[in-house]
Amino acid sequence: MFIFIARRLLFALALLFAVSAFTYVIFAALPSDPAALTCGKNCRPEVIAVNRVRLGYDKPIVVQYGQYLKGIFKGRSYGASEGVHCPAPSLGYSFRKHQCVTDLITRSLPVTASVALGAFVLWMLIGVGLGTMAALKRGRWPDRLATGFSVVGISLPTFFVGLLAIMVFVIWTGFLPFPRYEGITSNPAKWFMSLVLPWFTLAIVSASSYVRLTRNGILEVMNEEFVRLGLAKGLHRRTLIVKYVMRAALLPIVTIAGLDFAALLGGAVITESVFNLPGMGKLSIMAVNDSDLPILVATTLVAAVFIVIANAFVDILYGFLDPRVRSY
């Protein structure tokens, strides 16, 4: 088992390295000139040239990438006497936002984590709950209600649900104030209020597919021979469903949910934009609009890190749950 875990972790590290290199090269190859972004309307070529050197964009791409990696472990300085320093782990400096990218990420991540965590809990409760109800009441009105919800939820784009929620609950009825994010430590009540609508928006959209997955998973397992055997042997239906059917049916769902949650930590781009939440997704969108390459590279990398970690975690978890996979 130790070798299996070590192998998976090494693979995850290699994957992260590859992702970081690939991401850096992709963004470096974009037509936007990061040095030009430090320059204003007057934009004289000589100022751009000086700033290109100052930022290290005059170096070959391999050297740039090397400096970037070095900055992660040792920190990095830009410019001479009037320059700025970003301590380790430095993910670069944004001359658009005049801040170290790591500081921006550190500030955005708790917002995204707040959105992701609440929405994840909600969508799992709604998705798995409705899916289970639909499977157990197959062909009856609860089933039709749940599958109907699923179809509607899948069909509605996130931005539409979000804007509709704002219109209905904020603007038309005034039931809720317009969401303005507050940190959980500074004001827990405001933190909660600012996230209610984003949570439900994400939950409605994301839960829909989980209704389907759960329903189909449970129905499939209920057709297995061991279920019929359990019933034939007089096992209580509720015990059978909770203890055996759900356990078997939800295993693949938990795997998918883990990856979905990790992806969400990279930024719920649309939800954060609609509700003006200053999280990773919003940061990414701002970076795209501003062609702010250091932030784009960093947010992409951070998102990739979450995915890779989640993937490694799931792999290792599977190794525990099903010893047969350890040989792969």
Binding site: V50, N51, E82, V84, Q99, W172, S273, S291
Partner: protein, 585 residues
């Protein structure tokens, strides 16, 4: 209006001077004069409360005084945080363009044939920490403009072009002792630290307007954090920054060390200003239309979305809350004289371009009115309707017949240029955007009707000016607004070789030397009426030579919350005097 600015690609932005003398109205937005009903008055103001600003942008363009160049930002920061030696009268209408002493005791004393200007500081002016503002703070602030790598030349560069600094001066961060001494010789401080004297290379009759720009604002050296200063500039005005988080919010509170006794310009009413960023534009509009809760105490940075303009302007219930006015910009197309040295082809281009179709595609009459000058009508002293090329249709539709006649004349007068325009094609540089993807077909079709071939060159916006600086096309799209109430910030900037934004290379034209000489005379002219006449003639000269073709006098529309008062258009900046806004109960 933002969408209009997007059409231009990447507007060059100066401070605006927006006077109430709108040009003849046409289209749905009325006369083009700014109005705001009750919200523009001080009726029922009760001191206190929080003013909210909603903004689609991700953050303030800049808060560093030496890096600010957009009119709205200059007005916002100038009325709240940052004071300058001179500023403008805080009233609506043309009276608002009247220069007043701010940190200085008067509007400056010129000498040496207006090549030297002195200003004496008031008693009792302080920064937010209570430290007295002295000459050295202003001198240090101005010196930061020279640190091009740090500022990215984002702010106006008048200090670098006007001040008589001997030799190269790289700014305060990297200057040698000799370089710093040379700078301090050009910007002198008296022994008591109360008087600052600027020595200029050339006569500048309106230099006291120049120092009203925030680029001439004081910065305490000890608090300068270079690139990061923009996150927390030190306040000298009635408000100071409490917190700023890009993408979220800028919170300003009252500056306890600001004294109304030492400030004749700012009369704040609210306790706090919360500028909220990153909001969806459609949500902003819906909130402003609904006018509920805190939104009643809210103004918007940016305009009303095109799809909501009819709703707001057709319904009388918004009369007290809506404004509509020119934003001070003129959009235009610069023609590269080096590549198109043929007047007939340039005039044919102007006559054939379907300006009405372009305006309709961009949003219709709300976006602006067809321009007949590079000087905006809002520069009332300097503007006079220009005489456009003969045959140009006033309704913006193309005059194909007249354009074809010009092209026929060009065939014999300048066959090489004719061939270049009709066979090789004219490269048209513009910023890349979704709207331009639609507009370009109108350019190609309308100019193709007279045989002019257009080669579309959409440039990634962040590289636009760097690209056309290095490799200008045949035609280039741009926009401009005056930096202060004088066309000295328009004509020389756009059409002289020394100007910061001249892409026409018109100095290659035989007609240029006479033009350049007259510009220099106009810059030094101290008789304002005489100077205005000279700018009008020079503007007409450019129109006659068709070195550039004016597009539109652009407009913007806004809606404020029902409790907002004193939200008048402050003409020097084309936006509200935010620091003076109050709230009714």
């Amino acid at each position: 209006m933002k969408s209009t600015k997007a059409i231009i690609g990447a507007l060059l932005v100066g401070a605006f001077f927006v006077s109430a003398c709108g040009s003849s109205g046409s289209g749905g937005s009325g006369s083009g004069e700014s109005s705001g009903g009750r919200s523009g008055t001080d009726e029922g103001i009760k001191d206190g409360g929080t003013l909210f600003i909603l903004d689609h942008s991700t953050g303030a363009t800049n808060l560093d005084p030496q890096r600010i160049y957009t009119g709205a930002d200059l007005g916002f920061l100038g009325s709240t945080i940052t004071r300058t030696l001179t500023s403008y009268t805080p009233v609506a209408g043309k009276a608002g363009t009247q220069l007043l002493a701010d940190l200085a005791t008067d509007t400056g004393t010129p000498s040496d044939d207006v090549k030297t200007w002195s200003f004496t500081l008031r008693d009792g002016v302080t920064f937010e920490d209570g430290a007295a503002i002295v000459c050295a703070d202003i001198r240090y602030g101005v010196s930061r403009t020279f640190a091009h790598e740090m500022t990215g030349d984002e702010g106006p560069l008048y200090a670098t072009t006007m001040l008589a600094v001997e030799g190269e001066y790289p700014g305060p961060y990297t200057a040698t002792a000799d370089q710093q001494a040379a700078y301090e010789k050009a910007v002198e401080c008296s022994e008591d630290g109360k008087t600052i004297t600027f020595h200029l290379k050339n006569p500048v009759a309106d230099f006291n307007y120049t120092v009203a720009l925030l680029a001439f604002a004081p910065v305490p050296k000890a608090a300068d954090t270079a690139d990061k200063y923009t996150l927390k500039p030190v306040a000298s005005g009635p408000f100071m920054i409490k917190s700023y988080e890009e993408g979220k919010e800028l919170v300003m509170v009252r500056n306890p060390n600001w004294s109304a006794d030492s400030d004749p310009i700012r009369k704040p009413h609210v306790d706090e200003i919360h500028w909220q960023f990153g909001l969806d534009e459609s949500v902003i509009d819906e909130r402003m239309i609904a006018d509920a809760g805190d939104d009643q105490a809210t103004i918007v940075y940016g305009g009303i979305q095109p799809e909501n303009l009819q709703t707001v302007f057709d319904d009388a219930k918004f009369a007290d809350r809506r404004t509509d006015g020119f934003d001070g910009f003129v959009s235009y197309t610069m023609i590269n004289i080096k590549k198109v040295p043929c007047l007939e082809v340039r005039q044919a281009f102007w006559l054939a371009l379907n300006r009405e179709a372009l305006r309709t595609a961009g949003g219709g009459p709300f976006t602006g009115e067809f321009a007949d000058s590079f000087i905006n009508p809002l520069l009332a002293t300097d503007y006079t309707p220009g005489t456009v090329t003969e045959g140009l249709n006033a309704d913006g539709t193309p005059n194909v017949e007249a354009a074809q006649a010009k092209m026929d004349a060009a065939k014999t007068a300048c066959p090489d240029v004719y061939k270049h325009a009709t066979e090789e094609g004219l490269r048209f540089d513009h910023g890349q955007s979704e709207l331009w993807a639609k507009l370009i077909s109108i350019w190609i079709d309308s100019l193709g009707a007279v045989g002019i071939k257009i080669i579309d060159n959409a440039i990634e916006p962040s590289k636009y000016y760097a690209t056309i600086n290095k490799d200008p096309g045949d035609l280039m799209r741009a926009g401009w607004a005056a930096d202060w109430n004088n066309a000295s910030t328009v004509v020389p900037e756009l059409f002289t070789k020394e100007g910061g934004f001249n892409y026409s290379q018109n100095w290659e034209d035989a007609a240029y030397p006479a033009f350049s000489d007259k510009v220099n005379l106009a810059k030094a002219e101290v008789d304002r009426a005489k100077q205005a006449k000279m700018w009008q003639e020079l503007n007409q000269y450019v129109l006659d030579q068709a070195w550039a073709v004016p597009g539109s006098f652009t407009k913007s529309q806004n809606l404020v919350g029902s409790r907002v008062r004193n939200a008048y258009q402050w003409l020097p900046f084309g936006w509200y005097n935010v620091g003076a806004i109050g709230l009714a109960e």
